[in-house]
């Protein structure tokens, strides 16, 4: 069963990748563009922090660490979940009807039909940034740290993915979601690049309980960097990322299903 789905995924995703590689120049330019824009953003962050040295007691290296961590989760999510980015076109063009009659779960089919390799360039840049930041912050590499980091990245990817899924699902009611999903994800990603402690309580609560991206970077970083900065939240939050990811997965999937149940075709 799992093997069958795995094979199917490779088949569908592979077809998409091959079609994308038809335009090699454009593909290359896109990768290049993403890398440049990532480096530019990091350069800006650098220019800023060289001038000010610290943000709320976080050093340059620690902020880059947060940035790298958030960016890693973001790029993996982008590789696997690109299809949700402009999910509304499935509804506007009526393509969703075609998906619904296929003998696989609709969400699986939608995700499998596109795997965006251009974002591998972003992921590689993030890995580089993260490795450098890891080095600068003088965290000691142990098996535990490695496992914890890995779990954090996987949970972070899932949390971001579920936010994307929820915002894409909204289109099942409103028909159009335009750049909303993209905007939401970019905004939350931007928010995770800085220590959550710089925000007022309301924004902190928002980023902890409603759009729980603080679990992508900030809380796990408390453990990795030994910051001990919890701002009145339970200390166990530093280990909570996988739990949050699981809860979010359930919530978003239920939301998706309820969206599908009430879906009416646009008829176009």
């Amino acid at each position: 069963m799992v093997r069958r789905y795995f094979k199917l995924y490779c088949l569908l995703a592979g077809a998409y990748v091959r079609s994308r590689l038809q335009y090699r120049l454009s593909f290359g330019l896109m990768c290049f563009g993403i890398v440049i824009s990532e480096v530019c953003l990091l350069g800006l962050l650098g220019a800023l922090l060289v001038k000010f040295r610290t943000v709320n007691g976080w050093t340059w290296a620690e902020v880059v660490f947060l940035y790298g961590l958030g960016n890693l989760a973001y790029s993996f999510m982008r590789i696997l979940g690109s299809q949700l980015d402009d999910f509304d076109r499935y509804i506007i063009r009526g393509e969703l009807d075609g998906v619904l009659i296929r003998p696989v779960p609709p969400l699986f089919y939608i995700l499998a039909s596109r795997i965006e390799l251009i974002h591998v360039s972003r992921a590689l840049t993030s890995v580089a940034i993260f490795v450098v930041a890891f080095h600068l912050t003088e965290i000691r590499w142990t098996l535990e740290v490695a496992l914890f980091t890995l779990t954090t990245i996987v949970s972070g990817t899932l949390i971001m993915f579920t936010l994307m899924l929820i915002s894409a699902t909204v289109a099942l009611w409103t028909t159009k979601s335009g750049k909303l999903t993209d905007l939401l994800i970019s905004a939350t990603k931007e928010a995770t690049a800085f220590p959550v402690s710089i925000y007022p309580l309301a924004v902190r609560l928002l980023l902890t309980f409603i759009l729980p991206v603080a679990f992508v970077t900030y809380y796990p970083a408390q453990q990795l960097l030994q910051k001990g900065e919890f701002l009145g939240m339970p200390e166990s939050f530093q280990f909570a990322a996988p739990v949050v990811a699981l809860i979010m997965l359930c919530v978003s999937y239920l939301f998706w299903c309820s969206g599908l149940r009430r879906y009416h075709s646009t008829g176009s």
Binding site: Y23, S26, L41, K176, L180, L183, F194
Partner: protein, 266 residues
């Protein structure tokens, strides 16, 4: 003469009204974006009074104005729209019309963008202005110059996107160039994230020969009173020069594109 182009503007303005929910959500998320930056700068300025001639009030004003202007960058979809028209072949119907393609595209974009300015940028700005006690421009004249500078910056942004869009005639897929120019270079050199005074010298030097600072930095620095007197005049002259150069380049590009255009029957 201008009346027919105005119709495009009005129609585009009305079209944006169709999906209200989307517009509201967009506003909410934009506010979240701006909050991130405002609080980042507040945190950076704890224990500092003035950096590079910017005190806390001035820097917050700078950030909010520049972030507000940045809205044009991510709501303008000129390159995407042209690409789509080329791919679907719809561009043919535009070519058959007795109108100028570049002007028509600008008129349409202006319609969408004036809607954005009125219902997204202005409320967003007023919200932050009220909440964080931001500065107003030093004088009424500065305000008028600021608005003029915003319009010039807008035309520069439009022209860049227009040229990128025209690339679709050769490349079919332009997301690469778009990401490179708009999300890479423009983000780095437009000064949306921090004022150019904060840049390391070599980076600032590179920025001076590129058009991007004329999109956001110039109008924002005029608003905050950072550019005054002679430097303000120079800035606006640079903007005018870029407008002339890029609009001209856009015309050349689309003439070249239309000459090589071969349409498949459909």
């Amino acid at each position: 003469m201008m009346k027919k182009y105005l119709i495009f503007t009005v129609k585009a303005f009305q079209r944006t009204l169709t999906y209200r929910f989307e517009l509201w959500m967009e506003l909410v998320i934009n506010v979240l974006f701006m909050l991130v930056y405002v609080y980042l700068w507040k945190a950076l300025y704890t224990g500092q009074t003035s950096v590079e001639g910017y005190d806390l009030n001035k820097i917050l004003t700078y950030i909010v104005v520049s972030q507000t202007l940045l809205t044009f960058t991510f709501t303008l979809r000129v390159a995407r729209i042209i690409e789509e028209k080329v791919r679907t072949g719809e561009v043919v119907t535009d070519l058959m019309k007795p109108i100028d393609f570049q002007l028509m595209t600008l008129a349409t974009a202006a319609g969408t963008s004036s809607h954005t300015a009125l219902f997204n940028m202005l409320p967003k700005f007023l919200l932050f202005y009220g909440t964080f006690g931001l500065l107003l421009p030093p004088s009424l004249l500065t305000l008028l110059l600021f608005i003029t500078s915003v319009v010039l910056g807008y035309i520069i942004l439009f022209s860049l996107e227009f040229i990128i869009g025209i690339f679709a005639f050769w490349l079919v897929e332009i997301r690469g160039i778009y990401a490179l120019v708009i999300w890479g270079l423009s983000m780095l050199f437009s000064g949306y994230f921090l004022p150019l005074e904060f840049y390391p010298t070599f980076l600032a030097k590179i920025g001076e020969v590129l058009p991007f600072r004329a999109i956001i930095y110039f109008p924002t620095a005029i608003y905050t009173g950072q550019l005054m007197g002679e430097s303000l005049v120079t800035a606006m002259l640079i903007q005018l020069a870029w407008v002339a150069a890029l609009v001209g380049l856009g015309r050349l590009a689309y003439r070249a594109a239309f000459r090589k255009l071969v349409i498949q029957g459909g």
